[in-house]
């Protein structure tokens, strides 16, 4: 084996890549426990820094001017985006970052085929995959972002003939993929093939996310997260870079696991989430018995004042009303009053995995007060009061009791089994699925209508008097 300067540097780079891969793996491992998560993230970022620095030693990199400008500009944008984003905008931020990562892979793929050397069929195939996954990630994430920030309606958008259009797009992508990889002698220039491929795959990403409703966003964001990793992975195949493959597939795997957790929490399959926009809405002819009883915040105070234990069940409505800080204030008051306060978090509450946890952490609620659905359901009967703040489908007892209901079988937090249930809600509108919630009609349930933040504020004022 020749051991000239070039191969020595290559060796150094590749050995360092092994170290970087190990740092990513240990970093992710540490990210799995609340106590060590911050260190894990730091370790993983050091791995990234090391990977970047050692790559710059590569002898084939001769001009640093554009690299310096691009890295500086990217670091500035990333820095300010991460600093300035409000914690409540985290779902939007995560989907934008997913999209940017996907687009990065697209440009790596694009640059690869412009090299001007004849590429093997294998390289062309993986480059096409990087392009495809990257574009879908980018445009899909943009649509998810627009839905989350309500720039476009959050509900699923469907039109007649959508299924046919989608099938045609898929067929066209397969066709253009063949032209891209096999490069047969045709009238189409390779550049033209590339532009058509970019257009079609971007369109495909839009069509994939458009029909999916707001409440299914946790699934979509996890899935796009997975795609951003897989796009990096495909780019790694195109460049024959081990580190890209390892890091990309770690991200791909983690995204798929999260997607799976989210689907299980809704008792639906992934294909059901992705394509249910096209299915007719199942109407249930179940009759709900009982009546809705409204209650004022003042009356709620008397019950809370006497309560020994309170469980809070937050949902997306809490994020919309920005009620987490008021809730934390009420928690402190209740605890001073001698009550135990617990938070029950449903895996799909909110718009992304762990959304409620981030909001409550921002309001300085200790994660030790946060319980997962199964833990709280075991002892929900013992709670004097269950406060449902802006949650609907995740506390719907129809999932347990009504066989014809569209959400029958979905694991829910059994709020209705607590001794008293307060539902803080704007009005009587039904949840995402348009399903009535029998919880509101239970004899032990009281509705406190109005903005959740103001309602909590009114209760807090009662305690102060």
């Amino acid at each position: 084996m020749m051991l000239d300067a070039t191969s020595n540097t290559d060796l150094l780079i590749n050995f360092t890549y092994i170290l970087c891969a190990a740092m990513f793996i240990f970093g992710l491992k540490l990210l799995g426990h609340p106590g060590t998560a911050r260190r894990g993230n730091l370790l993983s970022s050091l791995g990234m820094l090391l990977a970047i620095v050692v790559t710059l030693l590569d002898n084939s990199i001769v001009t640093f001017q554009w690299i310096a400008i691009a890295m500086l500009a990217g670091a500035v944008v990333g820095f300010f985006a991460a600093r300035l984003v409000a914690m409540t905008d985290m779902p939007e931020m995560v989907s934008l970052l997913n999209g940017v990562g996907g687009l990065g892979s697209v440009f790596v793929a694009w640059a690869t085929i412009q090299i001007g050397v004849a590429l093997s069929t294998f390289v062309l195939l993986v480059t096409f995959l990087a392009l495809l996954i990257g574009c879908v990630t980018f445009s899909g994430s943009l649509i998810a972002w627009a839905k989350l920030s309500e720039r476009i309606p959050g509900r699923g958008i469907t039109f007649t003939g959508q299924v046919i259009v989608n099938v045609l797009i898929v067929l066209a992508i397969i066709g253009i993929g063949y032209l891209f990889v096999a490069r047969p002698e045709t009238a189409l220039e390779p550049d033209m093939v590339l532009y058509i491929a970019l257009g079609l795959t971007l369109l495909f990403g839009v069509m994939l996310v458009l029909p999916i409703g707001g409440a299914d966003m946790p699934v979509v964001i996890s899935l796009l997260n997975s795609y951003s990793g897989l796009a990096a992975c495909a780019a790694g195949f195109a460049l024959q870079n081990n580190l890209l493959i390892v890091a990309g597939s770690l991200v791909g795997a983690s995204g798929i696991i999260l997607t799976n957790i989210m689907c299980k929490a809704m008792n639906r399959s992934l294909s059901n989430v992705l394509f249910s926009g096209f299915m007719p809405v199942t109407s249930s002819d179940m009759v709900i018995e009982g009546e809705v009883k409204a209650m004022s915040a003042d009356d709620a105070y008397y019950v809370l004042e006497a309560a020994q234990s309170v469980v809070v069940i937050p949902g997306y409505g809490m994020a919309v009303a920005q009620a987490q800080h008021a809730m934390k204030e009420l928690q402190t008051i209740l605890e001073e009053n001698g009550a135990e306060v617990a938070y029950a978090i449903h895996p799909v509450a909110g718009r992304m995995p762990g959304h409620m946890n981030v909001l409550l952490a921002e309001a300085d609620v200790s994660y030790e007060h946060l319980f997962e659905m199964d833990d709280i359901n075991k002892r929900i009967e013992n709670f004097d009061v269950a406060m449902v703040i802006g949650a609907n489908d995740v506390v719907n007892p129809a999932a347990r009791e009504m066989k014809g209901s569209p959400i029958y079988g979905m694991p829910v937090i059994n709020a209705d089994l607590a001794k008293n249930v307060f539902v803080l809600k704007r009005g009587m509108a039904s949840g995402f699925a348009g399903i009535d919630n029998p919880l509101f009609f239970k004899p032990n349930t009281h509705m406190i209508f109005g903005d959740a933040k103001e309602t909590l504020g009114a209760i807090i004022r009662q305690f102060a008097d």
Binding site: L31, A231, P353, D364
Partner: protein
């Protein structure tokens, strides 16, 4: 053969990924996602080799440099926002 050897690496790292992540508590789902997303910015390494290599031609270099820009946003933004979130996750005092 190169492709087969790369597929080997892919297979093993997917298994590691599944093993690593499948026991993460729900509290950490968001930081896990944004932290993982920062790792997917690893494309920056591939982009660097394209952006700095004059022999590939100007066009490839510019595309590579733009990829470096995007991936750096992903890396810096992803790690920083994850750290910001994790700093908020506190135990009882």
């Amino acid at each position: 053969m190169e492709g087969v050897y790369l597929l080997f690496i892919l297979l093993l790292s997917i298994f590691i990924g599944f093993e690593l992540i499948h026991k993460v508590p729900a509290t950490l789902h968001t930081p896990l996602m944004s932290g993982a997303n920062a790792i997917s910015g690893i494309t920056v390494v591939g982009a660097l080799a394209l952006a700095g290599n004059e022999s590939l031609g100007q066009y490839s270099m510019y595309l590579g440099a733009f990829a470096v820009f995007l991936a750096t946003i992903n890396v810096v933004g992803g790690y920083m926002v994850t750290d910001r979130m994790l700093a908020m996750f506190k135990k009882k005092k």
